[in-house]
């Protein structure tokens, strides 16, 4: 395992006065897959948004990307450094076609052969390849999720932040997404994933964090957590 690609120290986030994230510290090492778990409304999405400085969230604390601070950076600068984001709710663009979604986000990778480009996405997900010219938001729910993942990939990031990628996709596609995640780390892309689907999360991640009411209450390897039925019950209500 390499050194930390993403490091978060004592992060506090607020929506107006409501203090959503409290003293969150978290690390994603290079070529690692990390999952953040937690019940609804615990602050998982807020965590990802805080990294990218999205919305009107007031963020205090340090976020380091490859040792470099992101505290003063703007959203687009952060993203440009190599952080891609699959948002919850997909946030596709109604006025762009499926193909345009991929074109607009496309940023060439370091090597032409290994890079993610729109064509490669279409190969990987034939279900959206057939719908190239359709407006992104006219797709079915699952297709939209796939497109959102594709859109993040074509920017050829170093780390991928995914917010509940399993939502809306069917079981067969879930398997493919899990495979994809493993493949990605082999290609040099680290992953930070937020998930409700415990099964998926544990199959993808090597390490997990659990958020309860905006605080990290558990940190450990995926195997440990899988075995730790008590923590699962206590923190996730499984």
């Amino acid at each position: 395992m390499g050194e930390a690609i993403l490091k978060i120290n004592n992060l506090n986030s607020y929506y107006g006065k409501s203090h959503v994230l409290q003293e969150v510290s978290l690390t994603v090492n290079s070529l690692e897959r990390v999952a953040v778990l937690g019940r609804n409304g615990m602050g998982k999405s807020t965590l990802l948004k805080s990294i990218l400085r999205l919305q009107d969230i007031k963020v205090e604390g340090d976020v380091l990307f490859k040792g470099e601070t992101l505290n003063q950076a703007k959203t687009y600068e952060i993203a440009k450094k190599g952080i891609a984001y699959v948002p919850q709710g997909w946030l596709l663009f109604p006025s762009l076609s499926v193909e345009e979604h991929l074109l607009v986000a496309y940023r060439p990778g370091k090597s032409k052969a290994k890079e993610w480009n729109p064509e490669r996405i279409f190969e990987l997900f034939p279900e959206i390849a057939a719908r190239r010219k359709v407006s992104g938001t006219k797709l079915s729910g699952g297709e939209q999720q796939i497109l959102a993942i594709g859109r993040a990939l074509v920017s050829n990031p170093e780390i991928l932040l995914m917010d509940e990628p399993s939502e809306g996709i069917s079981t067969m596609v879930i398997d493919r997404v899990i495979d994809l995640c493993h493949q990605l780390t082999e290609q040099g892309i680290s992953i930070l994933i937020v998930e409700q689907n415990l099964e998926l999360a544990l199959r993808v991640a090597q390490r997990v964090y659990v958020l309860v009411n905006g605080r990290i209450v558990y940190e450990g390897t995926a195997e440990d957590f899988r075995a730790d039925k008590e923590s699962q019950h206590q923190f996730l209500g499984v």
Binding site: K74, T75, Y76, F93, S95, L96, V104, A105, R151, S155
Partner: protein, 283 residues
């Protein structure tokens, strides 16, 4: 007479097109109801006039008018519009306030008298085409509009720019999260729209005149075009300009007393039947 009226309608359409396509940039693409577009036009026109008077170069006037208007647009975007992005009511009010301020500044700087921008020598006079006399300036206007139209079309449809803008309007933040400096893009587009308006101001001011109040008048016609053609539609802007241009020229020849009514009635009808204009995109 029919033919000459037709030509005149087209000329007017060409002028209005240059205005409308600029407005449609901010309107259709940025979704900003830019009521200061008319003010950019007039301010550009006056700048052009002053430059012409002091240097004698008409083309330099066109360039300066366009640049200054573009600059004001950039200022408006950076200092005001940017801060209320997405809140359409506030955006509208900001552009309205700017329009009021600029209109009044114009009176302060250039006084209330109407002014004329002389047509450059090279474009004076007329030629005979199909039995009608067509002023050279009119031909110039037509050509110019075509060039501008083509250029913008390429920019919007053949570059990534167009996609970025459309995406940015749909979801500003998500585009930032893709690593694109969408703020800058918006500023550029808005300034480009201002630039076009300023340029139209000098060219149109030469064709018509520059005077206080022109800003609102031109703005109204431009709005009509966009309404009838559909917001954000390139083809719609062309068709809209031609429709309005022709209605105006035929109206003012055959029924001048009802020309205003003639102008608004078809537009209203279009909107009632097709609420998004002839070519409006369904979003």
């Amino acid at each position: 007479m029919f033919l000459s009226t037709f030509f005149n309608g087209l000329t007017l359409a060409a002028l209005l097109f240059i205005m409308a396509i600029g407005l449609n940039l901010s309107f259709g693409l940025l979704r900003v109801v830019n009521l200061s577009h008319g003010a950019f036009y007039l301010f550009g026109g006056y700048i052009g006039l002053s430059v012409l008077k002091s240097t004698g170069h008409w083309w330099l006037g066109v360039l300066c008018g366009a640049l200054v208007a573009g600059g004001i647009a950039a200022i408006e975007e950076i200092f005001f519009l940017r801060r209320v992005r997405g809140k359409s009511t506030l955006e509208t009010l900001i552009t309205l306030s700017m329009a009021i301020i600029i209109s009044d500044l114009i009176v302060v700087i250039w006084g209330g008298n109407p002014k004329m921008i002389a047509i450059p020598k090279a474009l004076k006079g007329f030629v005979s085409l199909f039995t009608v006399n067509v002023p050279i300036y009119n031909l110039f206007l037509l050509t110019f509009a075509c060039v501008i139209g083509l250029g913008l079309w390429l920019l919007i449809n053949k570059t990534k720019m167009g996609m970025i803008i459309r995406a940015g309007v749909d979801n500003f933040e998500m585009v930032s999260a893709l690593g694109i400096n969408i703020r800058l893009v918006f500023t550029l587009v808005f300034s480009l729209a201002g630039f076009m308006a300023g340029m139209a101001g000098v060219i149109g001011g030469t064709f018509l005149m520059v005077a206080p109040g022109e800003d609102w008048r031109i703005l109204t016609y431009t709005l009509l075009i966009i309404i009838i053609g559909g917001m954000g539609s390139f083809g719609g802007t062309i068709i809209g300009s031609i429709i309005i241009g022709l209605i105006f020229s035929f109206g003012s020849v055959y029924v001048p007393q009802f020309s205003l009514f003639l102008m608004f009635a078809p537009v209203a009808l279009t909107l009632v039947i097709r609420p998004k204009g002839l070519f409006g995109r369904t979003l």
